[in-house]
């Protein structure tokens, strides 16, 4: 896959691809189910597989049952939900900005949610919980509106350079603010340093239930968008000429991204690179059609986040946060993408 594979620049997908897409979908679902089940059996508790099965089927009130049912199950579900949210918002951001390097982390949306939560923790006391989800949503909304508003208007509006620049600049301001707050308030610093790495550790069902409605709403909007996104891939002018309406599409996309990233960040902290990697991987498998990329990222992104979470538990005894693992995988991918032969524009 090269830059020529960005939507709009590639030749129309050939018929032979259909079988490949279906095979990819089936394989993806299979891998996801396997990983999800495996993640229940892997952890620091060293519980025998048979024991895990038993307490999964019957809750006997033992500590083992508590670990499996109240910690491992919600953690697995949360990895799926958060992964899906981040992956699909990455796909949408890349489609509406027509920028192959766009990612909610790079464009400052996650930083908005993060800073909002830090400010809330400073003002209301450092009891970080999923109750901060509305605050995170507000932060994500403000950040995406500012980045989108500034990045797409004006003479150079909509160019990927300007958009990334705006994201980086806003991200810097936000991290400066949260830095200033956390450095002057040690107890807030102590609390958020664990959350800011991006981790699924010790999340229980209450976190899942708090963010689920927002992520479900975001997913719903996102899944309605692919046809319009395909038209946008041709450029706003052509899209209008074809009868599409770019502005409502972009507005819906911004709302979806806000809901998805804000809720995901509230639940797991800022996790970068999933939104960057997943659409790229999918484009190389199923081609540039958003009707495949967007829904498939709901399957592919959780695979990535789940494997990051599980390997973080296995590799180091003290447990690597999932956000650190995704950065370790994602940064080389980003570098490889920019080194590609076709990436002349970079």
């Amino acid at each position: 896959m090269t830059l020529a594979d960005t939507p709009g620049l590639a030749p129309p997908p050939v018929d032979a691809g259909a079988r490949r897409r279906i095979a990819a979908t089936a394989a993806g679902v299979g891998i996801l189910v396997l990983l999800a089940v495996a993640s229940l059996f892997i952890g620091s508790g060293a519980i025998a597989p048979a024991e895990v099965w038993r307490v999964l089927l019957t809750d006997d009130g033992s500590p083992t049952a508590l670990i499996v049912r109240e910690y491992r199950v919600p953690r697995m579900l949360l990895a799926i939900v958060v992964g899906a949210a981040l992956g699909i918002s990455g796909a949408i951001i890349q489609a509406i900005t027509r920028n192959p390097l766009a990612d909610p982390g790079i464009l400052g949306v996650n930083a908005g949610a993060y800073t909002a939560v830090v400010l809330a923790a400073a003002a209301l006391g450092p009891s970080l919980s999923a109750g901060h989800v509305t605050v995170a949503l507000a932060g994500a909304l403000i950040a995406s509106l500012v980045v989108y508003g500034i990045g797409t208007t004006g003479p150079a509006g909509g160019t990927s350079t300007k958009l990334v620049l705006t994201g980086v600049a806003l991200g810097a301001v936000l991290s400066g603010i949260s830095f200033a707050v956390t450095l002057t308030m040690p107890e807030v610093f102590d609390k958020v340093r664990f959350w800011s790495a991006g981790s699924l550790q010790n999340r229980q069902f209450d976190t899942l239930w708090t963010v689920l409605p927002f992520i479900a709403a975001g997913l719903l909007i996102a899944l309605l968008l692919p046809r319009a996104l395909n038209a946008l891939a041709l450029g706003d002018d052509v899209a209008v000429a074809l009868g599409a309406r770019p502005t409502p599409t972009k507005l819906a996309a911004v709302i979806a991204v806000t809901l998805l990233c804000g809720a995901a960040t509230a639940a797991a902290g800022p996790i970068a690179f999933i939104g960057l990697m997943v659409p790229h991987a999918l484009r190389s498998i199923v081609g540039p059609d958003q009707r495949w990329i967007v829904p498939l990222s709901v399957i592919a992104a959780p695979i990535l986040l789940l494997s990051a979470d599980v390997s973080g538990r296995v590799v180091v005894s003290s447990e690597l946060p999932a956000g650190v693992v995704t950065a370790f995988i994602g940064a080389p991918v980003l570098i490889a993408l920019t080194r590609r032969k076709g990436a002349r524009g970079l």
């Binding site: 390097l101 982390g105 790079i106 500012v146 500034i150 990045g151 004006g154 003479p155 150079a156 509006g157 160019t159 350079t161 300007k162 620049l165 705006t166 980086v168 600049a169 806003l170 991200g171 810097a172 301001v173 936000l174 991290s175 400066g176 603010i177 830095f179 200033a180 956390t182 450095l183 002057t184 040690p186 610093f189 102590d190 340093r193 664990f194 800011s196 790495a197 991006g198 970068a272 690179f273 003290s318 690597l320 946060p321 956000g323 650190v324 995704t326 950065a327 370790f328 994602g330 940064a331 080389p332 980003l334 570098i335 920019t338 080194r339 990436a343 524009g345 970079l346």
Partner: protein, 344 residues
């Protein structure tokens, strides 16, 4: 002839701005000598500087405040020069040591040193070790980014995107290291990582001065070649400038300057990024220029330090936090109001 006259007028404009901004920066620096918890007036400061004040006033002004102010002026200039070199070489306004991962790498180096020191002896690591760790981390990161971005030469956007990737990688690592540290240790490491002038003494300021005195003539002698390369490698070569040697020397000197500042003060964000752009816009030069950039860098850092010392007095913010907010806000404002040709 007309072109000659035009470029002369432009350079005169740049010169006026350079001198003017330098004077303003020095004036603010002198005035900020009177700012602080000791309640000294302008007369006390003047007496202390001319050697007529009592011992304690002299110590506060000459031993504590003056090295810090001088460091802010020189360090701002050094960072801005480094940024100017990076922006010229990458032909991109985003090019700066921050963006290509130098600052994050320096932070990683310092974190590792304090983590190892804590593991062996239970202390937080000496300042010298932290500086050395920061230097090693920063230089290593810079080298890695250059290598990854290298493919028959290094071009603008590729080095920046590779740098962002490496920065994010190290940033995630840094966040993780902070979570495995004890709280006090993590807080002090994070405070260093924000970039702070609180601990600056003459032992930090003198090496920086020496570095600038050595680096500036080298860079100024290469300035012509730098401008040629901004037109592209081929044009530069046609005009007699070998692309890679000139670029190599420029980057080396630029990184060395930034490293000197970072080793003493920690990574101070955005001065390197914002100062050359500010100078270019104010003096309306066609590209980034070394001396106006240096003047604006000095002004930025001396103002940033003044704000960091006063905004939540008697406590002090790390100056890096102030420059991060100011520089980022400036960039956002610039993007919102200007943005012609896709440049910020």
């Amino acid at each position: 002839m007309r072109i000659g006259a035009l470029s002369l007028r432009l350079e005169v404009r740049a010169l006026i701005w350079t001198v003017g901004v330098t004077l303003v920066a020095i004036a603010i620096g002198l005035w900020s000598l009177t700012v602080g918890s000791a309640g000294l007036g302008a007369a006390d400061v003047f007496d202390a500087l001319s050697g007529r004040a009592d011992a304690s006033t002299t110590r506060i002004v000459v031993e504590w405040r003056l090295p810090r102010i001088v460091f802010a002026l020189l360090g701002g200039a050094a960072l801005a020069i480094g940024g100017c070199v990076f922006q010229s070489v990458t032909r991109n306004p985003l090019g700066s040591p921050d963006i290509i991962g130098f600052s994050t790498g320096a932070y990683t180096g310092a974190l590792l040193v304090s983590l190892l020191a804590a593991g062996s002896a239970g202390n937080t690591g000496s300042a010298l070790n932290t500086s050395l760790g920061a230097l090693a981390g920063g230089l290593l990161t810079g080298a890695v980014v250059y290598l990854f971005a290298y493919r028959r030469g290094v071009t603008g956007m590729r080095i920046i995107v590779v740098g962002i990737g490496v920065s994010l990688f190290l940033g995630a690592f840094n966040t993780w290291v902070l979570t495995v540290m004890r709280r006090e240790q993590a807080l002090s490491a994070a405070s260093w990582g924000a970039g702070s002038l609180n601990e600056i003494a003459w032992t930090h300021t003198i090496p920086l001065l020496v570095g600038l005195v050595i680096a500036l003539p080298i860079l100024l002698s290469l300035q012509e070649g730098m401008r040629m390369l901004e037109m592209g490698d081929d044009t530069g070569r046609a005009l007699g400038v070998g692309a890679e040697p000139v670029r190599g020397i420029l980057l080396l000197v630029g990184i060395a300057l930034v490293a000197l500042v970072t080793a003493s003060a920690g990574p101070i964000a955005f001065v390197a990024l914002a100062a050359p752009q500010l100078a270019m816009r104010a003096a309306r030069t066609p590209g980034v220029r070394l001396l106006p950039s240096a003047a604006f860098g000095a002004l930025l850092l001396v103002i940033g330090d003044l704000i960091a010392r006063t905004v939540i007095a008697p406590a002090q913010l790390p100056v890096g936090v102030v420059t991060l907010c100011l520089g980022g806000a400036y960039l956002v404002w610039l993007l919102a109001t200007h943005g012609r040709n896709g440049r910020p």
